[in-house]
């Protein structure tokens, strides 16, 4: 049996008809299950662990990219099959996983095409799509082998699922990010300050398994829609950590 984790924003009236249609579809497919509504401060891992003791076979995240990140940042360690039913806007991850938004996503879930995905890990939590450090004075060390530095501040984006698109990038140069290649991709962009505006340079790209980012002053770290301030972080790859139901039209 599946457990469905609904995001809090799905209470809004505008989503009522979509949710009803989805629930009917799930019942038709014979995969309807228990519904749990997530609050902002709910630790998804505790909820899933308790449901696992009751013998569930899968956890389905219902919401958008933020919901996906919120659940998997803590629950990636749970040994259970995950699914995703994207609803409304802000659904980039669903597109990469090949899952259509709203009602049609139920069909992908029913087909049960399973794959194992790599996830990133930093300072005791997981990220699935992307980690972002806005421009700051940081030093980066890769795989304990080489150091990367620049004269000015640098922006760092670590991608696992979601590719990094920057302004001025040629379409043919868009890099496909593969969440099963055993590597995370880091994009580093030094920033030059010219009069009143900031000019971002062409990014450096480094595939890696382990990376240490440090700074003398605290810097902001945003991962899957959640942000915190750190002075030193260790980013690691957790190979094939999450088992997920994906669509045929996935981008990797």
């Amino acid at each position: 049996m599946y457990v469905y984790l609904y995001d809090d924003f799905l209470k809004q009236k505008k989503h009522d008809s979509t949710i009803k249609a989805m629930e009917t579809r799930l019942t038709d497919f014979g995969i309807a299950g228990k519904i749990i509504r997530l609050q902002n401060f709910t630790n998804a891992k505790i909820v899933i662990d308790e449901e696992l003791r009751r013998g569930i076979s899968g956890v389905i995240i219902v919401g958008n990219d933020r919901t996906f990140g919120h659940v998997l940042s803590r629950a990636a360690t749970c040994n259970v099959l995950f699914g995703f039913l994207p609803v409304g806007s802000d659904n980039v991850i669903a597109n990469i996983l090949g899952i259509p938004v709203d009602e049609e996503s139920c069909e992908v879930l029913a087909k049960r095409r399973k794959i194992k995905l790599d996830v990133g890990w930093f300072n005791n939590r997981y990220f699935v799509s992307q980690l972002h450090i806005p421009a700051s004075k940081i030093a980066v060390e890769y795989d304990e082998k080489f150091k990367v530095s620049a004269k000015n501040q640098m922006e760092l984006v670590v991608c696992n699922l979601q590719p990094f698109d920057w302004r001025g990038q040629k379409i043919r140069n868009r890099k496909a990010i593969h969440p099963q290649d055993g590597k995370l991709e880091a994009f580093l962009r030094p920033v030059n300050k010219k009069l009143w505006r900031e000019v971002y340079e062409e990014p450096s790209i480094f595939p890696f398994e382990e990376m240490i980012v440090s700074s003398k002053s605290p810097f902001v770290v945003e991962a899957d829609g959640m942000s915190s301030k750190e002075t030193k972080i260790k980013i690691k790859l957790a190979r094939k950590r999450v088992e997920m139901i994906v669509g045929k039209e996935r981008k990797f």
């Binding site: 082998k145 080489f146 150091k147 990367v148 530095s149 620049a150 004269k151 000015n152 890099k175 496909a176 593969h178 290649d181 590597k183 580093l188 962009r189 030094p190 030059n192 340079e201 062409e202 990014p203 450096s204 790209i205 480094f206 595939p207 990797f252």
Partner: protein, 149 residues
């Protein structure tokens, strides 16, 4: 008749996976043992060592102060250190190399600068050693003049 198309989805995925590329941006400095399993493009500066089994591209303006080991290489910037390339090494007109070069195929554009020893695999002409060299000098054939009456 009912066979699957030859270019399968899996093959497409594999080709994307093979194109993994490491790029060192124009104002970025890399220090240490810089190794990659995929292609490397250097636009900034690297010091330490550089190693890849695939293609290394050193763009114009890039600076490498390191020993380089690559499968193939295209150099338009400057390298201070020994270069060992398994297959083809291409030096464009803006390339500057200060160090020994070892490769299988070498292409040098007019204007490229090399200061060092060039060693290439596959040579069949016997290279005389020191002893033979000296004997060759000693036994220089004298000019013979034949007078025909």
């Amino acid at each position: 008749m009912f066979q699957k198309p030859i270019a399968s989805h899996e093959e497409e995925k594999k080709s994307v996976h093979d194109d993994v590329e490491t790029v060192v941006g124009p104002s970025v400095n890399v220090e240490g043992d810089f190794a990659s399993e995929g292609n490397i493009v250097v636009k900034g500066s690297v010091s330490g060592s550089v190693k890849t089994s695939k293609l290394l591209t050193v763009e114009k303006g890039a600076k490498i102060i390191a020993n380089v080991n690559a499968g193939n290489a295209v150099v338009s910037g400057s390298i201070k250190g020994n270069i060992r390339v398994n297959e083809r090494l291409e030096l464009s007109e803006t390339a500057q190399v200060a160090g020994d070069v070892a490769c299988k195929i070498l292409s040098v554009a007019p204007g490229a600068l090399i200061h060092g020893k060039v060693v290439m695999k596959g040579i069949e002409v016997s290279i005389p050693n020191k002893e033979n060299k000296s004997s060759l000098v000693k036994n220089k054939p004298k000019l013979a003049v034949k007078v025909v009456s």
